[in-house]
Symmetry: C2
């Protein structure tokens, strides 16, 4: 069974890592949001691609959710002493990835090719695809005006109230080479427990992707558990947009495209309202505290995926 | 007595550091070669400016002659693991300088302004001026073809035999803001013990600098001692260009512009032939092993400089 996962940062990376632990590498591809990408200190930084790559390479920092484990900060300390901008924290080792990526991009390689090279160097076996090679930038429409995503998320700690989102450049973007191919070959698409607004919606905004996905059984994993986001500002965003945050809200958000939605055991009462939307509810323990949780959820998800085949 | 020093890398930085130890900051400026500058990993790297700045800030690595002391290499190790180019060694702390400089240059600040900001941040009190804000690139004409300076010097360890040099962009360059001003206000110009071919000649190649210098008493310090370069490929370059390397060769090289040349005690026999060129020979202990040597040479140099006033 060929699986394609759509992923943003931490939650997506964890589930993809679990799937990579239970599937042969050739049967799993991940399409990663690049709407969070931004240029900082002259470097092209791709936070979601990095989190997925580091997680799959076993290099991710489990405490922060970004950057590398066993990291050092000599560069950042020296930059601070020079009066440079340090609001976006770049560790010494992490910096190598940004510098090498930027060097290759400037030399004319597309992001998808650079990602392939970097993943290979780090021993990542599954296919990691940026959603597009074109620059697409998530813009946050907020109560203090329009902000770049990292301005909103890191510099302002997700504090401004959101009014909406804009995926600058998405209309002119095309799926990266490989994206439509893996979607067409896929037996199941998995929407990882990533932020619907700023991790998954940008992927769906790339012309051609939603149509390719729409032809396949799609199984989501809710990033909202017990009315709260597992991580990050997803629940806050739902609330500020006038929607009560819940697994049901996630189901409604993706109602046009999801076949099934995995919700956490504590959200079991929402199974029925989700079913009424025409989305098959599946109940599982979705929190991934450690690697065994990731593998367990991935295993259950694949069972659901196989069962879904019979149901369709 | 207002002093302007012309400097390249290590030898120049050491003497300028000595001069900074015996002169009030307002009386000393240094004009630094930027012909060695190059773009690497997307960063603008200015090796001579960096060596001068780090030396004056007390941060220079005394063992290597480049980079910072107490440096770590996590970035470079990670870059190597990613398959990136590591022939030019950039330490974690050093990297901050290149990244912050590049960021400011890309934001539109001229190199002279960036240098002023970085020096201020590092507590460097004397005026450090790049020779020009324009890109000037030393090209080495060698037996294996034309090479960029760092290709020749670092990547190929100065091994190719040189046939000549070209300072690409020099004709169209202008002295950086402040350069002509400090030269006009100077009482003495000091040619630091830097490589004549690739450290000092590029400075003299900037239109307007040679003329401004020619009006002033100029005192050189020979970078060749006992027929050998104190450091680097200067002696090798003289030899490959068919000139026996010596303090006398240095005097001949700068014959049009030098008033006096400080030679090492072991070169005392060359004093007479140097005098015959119309250049006043001055003999001193010129090797600078430690900071007291730098201060001693600087002190003697200033005495020479004062005596020169009376002689002219």
């Amino acid at each position: 069974m060929k699986i394609v996962a759509l992923a943003g940062g931490v939650g997506g990376a964890k589930l993809v890592d679990g799937l990579a632990g239970v599937l042969p590498p050739a049967d799993l591809s991940v399409i990663v949001n690049t709407g969070d990408d931004f240029e900082h200190l002259g470097l092209m930084i791709c936070p979601d691609l990095d989190t997925v790559t580091y997680t799959l390479a076993g290099l991710a920092n489990p405490d922060t959710g970004w950057g590398r484990r066993d990291e050092s900060w000599a560069f950042l300390d020296a930059l601070r002493a020079l009066g440079g901008p340090t609001w976006f924290r770049l560790g010494d080792r992490d910096l190598a990835l940004h510098i090498e990526r930027t060097r290759r991009l400037r030399a004319g390689e597309p992001l998808s090719a650079v990602t392939r090279t970097l993943c290979a160097a780090l021993g990542v076996e599954i296919q990691v695809l940026p959603m597009t090679d074109h620059p697409v930038r998530t813009r946050v429409l907020s109560d203090i005006g329009e902000l770049g995503f990292q301005e909103y998320f890191v510099e302002r700690s997700s504090e401004p109230a959101v009014r909406g989102f804009r995926f600058q450049g998405a209309d002119e973007a095309a799926p990266a080479p490989g994206v439509l191919e893996v979607l067409r070959a896929a037996d199941r698409i998995i929407f990882c427990p990533s932020n619907p607004w700023v991790s998954l919606d940008p992927i769906l905004a790339i012309p051609g992707i939603r149509a390719a996905i729409g032809e396949k059984p799609c199984i989501g994993v809710s990033p909202i558990v017990g009315g709260k986001a597992i991580r990050g500002p997803a629940a806050k965003m739902f609330g500020e947009l006038g929607i009560e945050p819940s697994s049901l809200a996630v189901a409604e958000h993706f109602r046009d495209v999801l076949t099934a939605l995995v919700i956490d055991t504590r959200d079991e009462p929402l199974a029925e309202p989700i079913a009424r939307l025409g989305i098959q509810p599946l109940v599982a323990q979705t929190l991934m505290h450690d690697r065994s949780d990731r593998l367990a959820l991935a295993g259950e998800l694949l069972e659901f995926a196989a069962a879904l085949e019979r149901a369709i």
